[in-house]
């Protein structure tokens, strides 16, 4: 009898989503979907607002990665103003974006995913959370908390607020960096380095034992998209996009924000409120691709910082071409963090970092503008149109989760096919299917996060809608 398994909501994600797995009469997985069940409407209600308000409005989309929205939005506004922001402002924003990436990745790795990795996919769900990690591996747990604090504290020092800082504005930033703040950030460096080195060592130790998961966690050939500098090194804030195929060939390079919509389209599926981005020349779904830590490392030829470059070289050894299993998002995330810490240190030694010229002022000089940046979980694109008075008439946002949507759905199907046999499942199996989604660290709403304690129900439903079996957690 055909059945549907529903995982609703998926836990340890930022936002609300659910997974459904359809079984056929033989109890084999027929299809599986990851649904994003909420609708936010930012593109609609920003209409009529002054364009210079957009960064602070758009930042409210997300409490985890508000900085990425601030930056992509401010860059779209600067395209409307037709200005180039001062060098110091660009460097300060780069630092802010990296600080956010470090804290967001620390949240994803330590708080959301390390319970699975360090305690085991089948461990008691009652203890499978950050507190369980702290109890079992106190030093590592503390390192995770410290890395999150490192990123958050830098955001607070620069923007005066940990979440939704109003410091990034169209044209630059509102105030320059004070020397005392620079010194405080530099003083935090040793602890940050210690934490990430510890995490990398711990990850490498356990990665081997996850070979079965690596084989089926969204492990397939796909295209990748991400920002790089002109020299091919990783970039989070400026640079241009590069698109590679599953063999690692560069299909298109130098995709600026203005050209984004020429090459990237968005498809809609009836089962999700999140759109499905694809590379237009290849069509949908063939042009689907992945973004985020794994994509960035597959695309970049170097990190541009010594310690992260050594880690990248090791990472590239995992496969002859691009690393295809989404399980390695975890590994790539840690390398991202290491890069972020090194790069922040580099930026702070820029002789112009304390310069007072941090903002360009201009009005409306163009009626359309687009901006892009790398959010922790992948490429983020903002695109606005305004009237003569600078009021928004149209807005479109392409977020990382939409770009990973196809891969997440394929990954859920792949894992479900592997693990669900004869219509039977256990809590550990349910957790593995969720863990596939967690590797992508999708940001669904996403102003809050939950770990372990969220109510979760997995239900087996027969063709008539009757409940066959149910597991309830929370």
């Amino acid at each position: 009898m055909p059945q549907t398994i529903t995982i609703d909501p998926v836990t340890r994600l930022e936002g609300h989503g659910k997974i459904t797995i359809q079984l056929n009469g033989q109890g084999e997985v027929e299809d599986a979907h990851f649904h994003v069940t909420q609708v936010r409407g930012f593109e609609r209600f920003s209409e009529g607002r002054p364009f210079y308000e957009m960064p602070s409005l758009m930042a409210r989309i997300c409490g985890i990665c508000p900085v990425s929205h601030l930056i992509a939005s401010a860059k779209a506004c600067e395209a409307i103003m037709s200005v180039r922001i001062p060098h110091t402002a660009a460097q300060l924003r780069r630092m802010l974006n990296l600080a956010q990436m470090v804290q967001s990745h620390a949240l994803s790795f330590f708080y959301l995913s390390s319970p699975d990795l360090l305690l085991g996919m089948d461990s008691d769900p009652g203890g499978r959370h950050i507190f369980g990690v702290v109890a079992a591996k106190p030093e590592l747990g503390r390192a995770g908390v410290a890395l999150r604090r490192f990123g958050q504290r830098i955001i607070e020092l620069l923007g005066n607020k940990r979440i939704h800082p109003g410091w990034v504005v169209p044209g630059g930033v509102t105030e320059p960096l004070a020397p005392a703040k620079r010194d405080e950030i530099l003083a935090m460096m040793p602890e940050a380095y210690h934490g990430i080195k510890l995490a990398l060592a711990a990850y490498k130790q356990i990665a081997e034992s996850f070979q079965p998961e690596i084989a089926v966690f969204a492990n397939f050939q796909s295209n990748y998209l991400g920002l790089v500098n002109e020299d091919g090194s990783v970039e989070f804030t400026d640079g241009a996009l590069r698109f590679i195929d599953s063999a690692g060939n560069v299909i298109e390079d130098g995709i600026t924000a203005t050209r984004f919509t020429e090459v990237i389209g968005e498809a809609v599926e009836p089962y999700s409120y999140t759109k499905f981005a694809y590379y237009k020349p290849l069509g949908y779904p063939e042009g689907s691709y992945r973004v985020g830590p794994l994509a960035r490392l597959n695309i970049a030829t170097s990190m541009g910082t010594p310690l992260a470059d050594a880690e990248l070289a090791e990472f590239k050894q995992l496969a002859s071409g691009p690393v295809q299993s989404s399980f390695y998002y975890h590994h790539a995330r840690l390398i991202d963090i290491l890069y972020g810490i090194e790069k922040i240190e580099q930026i702070l030694t820029d002789p112009l970092i304390l310069d007072k010229h941090v903002r360009a002022i201009a009005g409306v000089n163009r009626l359309e503008g687009a901006g892009q940046a790398e959010a922790p979980r992948g490429t983020l694109h903002h695109h606005y149109k305004v009237d003569e008075n600078g009021l928004i008439t149209w807005a479109n946002l392409v977020i990382a989760t939409g770009q990973n949507n196809n891969a997440m759905n394929k990954g859920v199907l792949q894992a479900a096919r592997h693990y669900v046999k004869d219509g039977k499942f256990t809590e550990g199996i349910l957790n593995r299917v969720e863990a596939v989604v967690r590797t992508f660290d999708p940001c669904l709403s996403c102003s809050t996060h939950a770990f372990g304690q969220m109510p979760l129900a997995l239900t087996l439903v027969d063709a008539n809608g009757g409940t066959v079996d149910q597991i309830v957690r929370g």
């Binding site: 002022i361 008075n389 009021l391």
Partner: protein, 237 residues
């Protein structure tokens, strides 16, 4: 020989105070360190009694009186704080919040807003009335300033400062009741009006309704304290 000063004695919140004839309850209370919440009142501008937040009780009358436009009289007994007044003030604030679209988190005046401060002071923890969510416009036509009608509380400070102090009378009020709107000239876009670009209206606006385009995020404190000094200097000339 100078005329004798006409002194009135009265009681405010149990305190014996004296005042000059013609002074308002608000003036006398503040001179004596008794705080009464106000929104449309601003030192240096004529009063209109529009917001009704300064209502007080006067012994012998069941009515409530706006302190900013009620003159004192001999033997008056005034209460500025009571449960009844607190309830009315909170309700007025709730009505103001429901009338238009006040979204503090993304407003330029967040943290510097008089409406927000009043709500906090009066213990307005939530709004019991349904929000109207009207569709209102933003006028961004001015080179330096923007008016966002979503955040306007119709205090008319902009109208008064423009007419009384700047002498331009660009701002005025259009419509009646709930449909009232502040307008520039005869409802022309602000950028095409006879505005002198002095910016006084922006400085006296208690919320983020009038703001400077270069001030974004929530870095827009306002400085209306210049008005009494400006008046004083003009009178001295």
């Amino acid at each position: 020989m100078s005329p004798a000063v006409d002194v009135k004695t009265l009681v405010i919140d149990g305190k014996n105070v004296s005042a000059r004839a013609g002074q308002t309850i608000l003036e006398v209370a503040r001179e004596n360190g008794i705080e009464i919440p106000t929104l449309c009142h601003l030192d240096g501008l004529g009063d209109v009694g529009a917001c009704r937040l300064c209502v007080v009780e006067v012994k012998g009358s069941p009515k409530l009186f706006p302190a900013c436009v009620t003159s004192v009289f001999e033997g008056m007994e005034v209460s500025t704080h009571s449960e009844r007044l607190q309830k009315h003030r909170r309700t007025i604030l709730e009505l103001l919040f429901t009338e238009r679209n006040h979204i503090c988190s993304v407003c330029v005046s967040n943290g510097h807003c008089e409406l927000q401060t009043l709500a906090q002071q009066q213990g307005m923890t939530h709004v019991r009335l349904p929000y109207r969510n009207p569709e209102l416009t933003v006028d961004g036509s001015h080179e330096r300033f923007t008016v966002d009608h979503n955040r306007c509380v119709l205090c008319t400070r902009c109208v008064r400062v423009c007419a009384e102090i700047e002498g331009a009378h660009v701002w005025d009020v259009m419509g009646r009741g709930i449909d009232s709107m502040v307008i520039t000239d005869l409802h022309q876009p602000w950028g095409e009006s006879s505005c002198t670009r002095c910016g006084k209206c922006v400085q006296v606006c208690p919320t983020g309704a009038l703001f400077d385009k270069s001030k974004i995020g929530s870095d827009h404190p306002k400085y209306p304290d210049f008005l009494p000094y400006l008046n004083m200097m003009r009178e001295a000339q």
